[in-house]
Amino acid sequence: MTRLDPGHIAALVHELHGYSLDAAGAVRAAAMVAGISAALETLAAEPQFHEEPANFAATLVALAPEGD
């Protein structure tokens, strides 16, 4: 996903959240979502069956160096 239609994004936001993006806001949102999508296409190409957000806290503890 390299480009998104700002008009579609504005319509979706209005439909789902009852909030109206103006033209500039829709362009900003579309650009941001396209960037996030591109990053995820690179980083999350494979299913992540063994990960979930709740693992993060335990990951930090597991990575903590001993003796610090």
């Binding site: 936001v13 979502v33 993060f56 160096p65 610090d68």
Partner: protein, 473 residues
């Protein structure tokens, strides 16, 4: 004789304990200084003179009676106006909460109270902590004490400016993408962004609960270490507060200042944090690295993995969680937000659940990969906190205009990936630019290695000889 306001926090606490200075004298000195600097820096939202003087007198009376004395007994502090105290109004930098008393007291305030600290003022901040510059349309811009035409950095703008102005001896801030580290760097003070979960967020206004951290800003590394030791630790009122043991932060800072950092490996990034730096920042960063080499540290070059992507994932998390928290007000009273904050929050309405959850699901793996690769090669990273000299307020008053996204992203480029990775970071003053504005550098380490970072920062601080410098207000 050293003026009272020129004592650092540790020295003041020791003077109060020894009864060579009273808490009332310190508090009156803080008020006098605050009154003098406020017209220039606009760091204060409110000062509680009556309550603070009563608390100071109580602290002095308790000391006269003898008994147990906390590590911050009688020391005046002020905090970013988003740490709730039951019955008190904290506006969080915005218009909507300006008349709403808090229904709880933040755990960190309870802990500072128990350590004997005085909470004398509520400090300016970016609206709902959503901004890295210090601009605020509701309370007025916070201005840098080194040059009021320049920004303080944000969102803990008042914390950085009040500490740098020597109007309080320390302050709490919060850091979601750089909000402690940027004002620390731009105002020339020390700031600690702890490991995610190291400090309780109970009773603290949330911006992005997956990324928010609470930490201190102070004049010296040891001062900041003492404050962190008081506020860190598990909290039954915050399920995300880590149970992991607290380090001996102040002892580590003292050891670093006294013994140095021989045999530690300091990582110097070869990309991302080394890219697109202003020449003055690059020179200061490299000189700081050489300085640590001269202190006995081994300098090692370290490639930084995945950061261009991580920068985008931070945005996915921040704006989505921000939009979730603010959805009702955004729908019912959007006019009560500044155009810039409204424009930033509303982007979160466009992020899909899959994108948001993918960004969070990737976080454990990307953090493991980063920590394994980077901290196998070094003990801590030495990084710039800001890629450019402290900019002028006028030049960064982006509003919701066409330069907003790139301008704000540029200011947080070197800080926000660390929030996604959940890692600790300490900002320490490292020099001055040609405009006589401070330059701050950040040390980043593996999870819960705050003591290690404080040791290194204290060694650097002791050698750099910058901590006696303060703005001429």
């Amino acid at each position: 004789m050293v003026a009272l306001i020129d004592l650092d926090l540790v020295a003041l606490a020791e003077a109060i304990r020894a009864r060579t200075v009273s808490s009332r004298e310190a508090t009156e000195a803080a008020f006098a200084r605050a009154r003098a600097v406020q017209p220039v820096v606009n760091a204060f939202i409110a000062i509680d003179e009556v309550g603070a003087l009563a608390a100071a007198d109580a602290a002095d009376a308790a000391l006269a009676r003898g008994g147990t004395i906390g590590p911050l007994h009688g020391v005046p502090l002020g905090h970013k106006d988003m740490f709730f105290r039951k019955g008190r109004i904290s506006g969080c930098g915005g218009a909507i909460l300006k008349s709403v008393p808090a229904d709880r007291t933040a755990t960190v305030l309870d802990r500072l109270d128990a350590a004997g600290a005085l909470d004398i003022a509520r400090l300016n901040m970016a609206e709902f902590a959503f901004g890295p510059t210090g601009h605020n349309v509701h309370y007025g811009d916070c201005r840098n004490p080194w040059d009021p035409a320049r920004i303080t950095g944000g969102s803990s703008s008042g914390s950085g400016a009040a500490v740098a102005s020597r109007a309080v001896w320390g302050a709490l801030g919060s850091d979601t993408g750089g909000s402690i580290r940027l004002p620390a760097a731009m105002c020339g003070v020390v700031g600690i962004k702890p490991t995610h979960g190291r400090v309780s967020r109970n009773g603290v206004m949330g911006l992005s609960f997956s990324l928010d951290t609470v930490g201190p800003l102070a004049r010296t590394v040891r001062d900041a270490a003492r404050l962190l030791a008081v506020i860190a630790g598990p909290d039954p009122r915050d399920a995300t507060a880590a149970i992991h043991p607290i380090g001996r932060y102040e002892a580590a800072a003292c050891a670093g200042a006294a013994e140095g950092i021989a045999k530690l490996r300091i990582g110097i990034p070869t990309n991302y944090y080394a890219d697109d730096l202003d020449s003055e920042i690059r020179i200061c960063w490299q000189a700081g690295a050489q300085q640590m080499g001269s202190l006995g540290a081994e300098l090692v070059e370290v490639p930084i993995p995945l950061h261009e992507h991580i920068s985008l994932l931070v945005n996915a998390v921040t704006v989505t969680e921000g939009a979730t928290l603010h959805a009702h007000w955004m729908q019912t009273r959007p006019q009560d937000y500044s155009p810039q904050v409204r424009a930033r929050i509303e982007m979160g309405f466009a992020v899909s659940a899959r994108h948001y959850l993918s960004a969070l699901t990737l976080r454990p793996r990307l953090t493991r990969e980063f920590v394994d690769r980077v901290f196998e090669a070094c003990d801590a990273l030495w990084l710039p906190a800001l890629p450019q000299p402290v900019p002028e307020r006028a030049a960064t008053d982006f509003g919701d205009g066409p330069r907003m996204v790139s301008g704000l992203a540029g200011l947080t480029r070197l800080t926000r990936p660390i929030n996604y990775l959940g890692l600790p970071s300490v900002v320490v003053p490292a020099g001055f630019d040609c405009n006589a504005m401070p330059i701050g550098m950040q040390l980043v380490g593996p999870p819960f290695a705050e003591a290690r970072l404080l040791r290194i920062a204290a060694a650097f601080e002791a050698d750099a000889g910058l901590k006696s410098r303060c703005p001429l207000l």
